[in-house]
Amino acid sequence: MKDVSPPPVLELHWVSHAYRSGPRPIPALARVHVQVAAGEFVCIVGPSGSGKTTLLRIAGGLLRPETGQVLLDGEPLTGPHPAIGFVFQRTNLMPWRTVLDNVLLPLELQGPIGPPEREKALHLLETVGLAEFADAYPAQLSGGMAQRVALVRTLIRDPEVLLLDEPFGALDALTRERLNLELLALHARYRPTVLMVTHSIEEAVLLADRVWVLGGQPGRMVAQVPVDLPRPRNVAVVAQKSFGQLALRIRELLGLVQEAPRRGVGHPPGGR
């Protein structure tokens, strides 16, 4: 295990899981043992069926692992926790609520809503440029706007840990890129610990401090790739040589690089 200087916020201790709803159990995740430091941004990549979403749901307390344990700030996690915020691939906005009321939902479930809460929601909406849509209904929003609202709804409880399950997977490439940059800015500003499942390797390298590569069935941790690109990052990072090298390295780990004309091209020396 690699030593990280800040104390781990989230720890998964030898977590395994199998789904038992069908006639025979389907193993999903095998002996995953990892930790995430405070403020760290981790992206999870892997082929479909490698247990990415299972891992995320276990980390968020939505799913109880069959074996192993999840620790949040050193305490065992037994279920959903107020310090953990989820953003799903589908925005999951309630169509009968306005944007503002959707954002306020998490607070509403905790207690009465007053002017300070409303103020906070409006302020957060402002940071993603949606303040004037506060009274609109989800049906009136574009996909990118809806996902921004979903993100803001998660942020309203000031979560310590943010779990994102392919949040931008359903969006077009341009919107997706813009939202990635907004996510970078939000992370720089609020410094939550982030665990994000993604299908895009470039997205993972752009955003993450560390990329977890899952593989196999049941999914196991193939490698943890540190991304030592300097922060704060912007789009220019994409043009850096090390960006391409990291992306290639992850592709290799995923088994996507076969029969390259000359082997070893683009290998970061030593890798780390």
Binding site: G60, L62, G79, P80, H81, P82, I84, F86, F88, R90, N92, M94, P95, W96, R97, L105, P106, E108, L109, Y137, A139, Q140
Partner: protein, 275 residues
């Protein structure tokens, strides 16, 4: 009570184009008096052309006079009142039980499997066959009518409630779980608003059927009510009285239906907000 009332803007589909609904409603309001006048004219023409005796087919004028006379005597109001009371009590009872039962059946599929054969059976027996039994058991007073009405009102609301609750987006349930919502919060903030559009579809049907229920109950045995008036009119060949009773029933049904539509309008405002 405009034309095209039944089919414009289905509440079940969130994507129904609101513009279309609004357009036809407008058309309905302006053309409604014209259509009514045309129908009355045709009716009058038919009576004059064929020279029907009033006990076969009274003209609209005769029916209007009869209605006026019955209204002045207080007869119409007395019978209308009785039927209305049966309908409203039947609606409350039938819908109330259907909503509660439907919610639990929707939440627990196993329970639905267990009960659905009986529920289906209860609906395959014609209500006219059950009504005499209810009259024998509960007398020819208010109770038996309310029960017949409740019985016929029950099923559409039940089915729509089961479907509505079952169709609540599982991802939204996930969201509520991740936010540590209590079961009470899940019900009021997710299940109820999510199922409401579908439930209203059932309520519309129930509202219309309630009128049928009350009349069937009154046919079997009653000494007051619009259904009783129809029976009476048949007995003494007072055809215009039958017409007055029938039109009153139609009016009651329209008002009930309009009432449900109004509730929909209030509660499902968000559905009319288009893209």
């Amino acid at each position: 009570m405009d034309a095209g009332f039944l089919w414009n803007s289905q509440p079940g589909s969130p994507n129904s184009r609101p513009a279309l609904g609004r357009g036809t409603a407008h058309l309905g309001w302006t053309t409604f008096p014209l259509v009514l006048a045309g129908a009355l004219g045709l009716w009058e023409a038919l009576v004059r052309w064929q020279d029907y005796p009033p006990f076969i087919l009274p003209g609209p004028g005769l029916v209007a006079r009869k209605a006026w006379q019955m209204a002045v005597e207080g007869l119409l109001w007395r019978h209308l009142q009785a039927t209305l009371l049966e309908i409203l009590l039947g609606l409350f009872l039938g819908i109330g039980v259907a909503l509660v039962l439907g919610y639990f059946l929707g939440k627990h599929p196993a329970l639905e499997h267990l009960l659905s054969p009986y529920l289906v059976a209860s609906q395959t027996v014609p209500i006219v066959a059950v009504a005499p039994l209810l009259v024998i058991w509960f007398g020819s007073g208010l109770v038996s009518k309310v029960l017949v009405c409740a019985l016929i009102v029950f099923f559409p609301t039940l089915v729509s409630t089961v479907v509505g609750i079952r169709n609540v987006d599982p991802d939204l349930r996930d969201l509520m779980t991740s936010l540590q919502a209590t079961p009470r919060q899940v019900f009021f903030k997710l299940e109820l608003p999510a199922a409401l559009p579908v439930i209203f579809g059932g309520l519309r049907l129930s509202a219309l059927l309630s009128v049928v229920g009350a009349v069937v109950g009154e046919f079997v045995g009653a000494d007051v009510g619009l259904g009783f008036l129809i029976n009476l009119g048949r007995g003494v060949l007072d055809t215009s009285m039958i017409f007055v009773a029938v039109f009153s029933l139609v009016l009651v049904a329209q008002l009930l239906y309009g009432g449900v539509r109004m509730l929909e309008h209030v509660f499902l405002q968000w559905q009319r907000i288009g893209r």
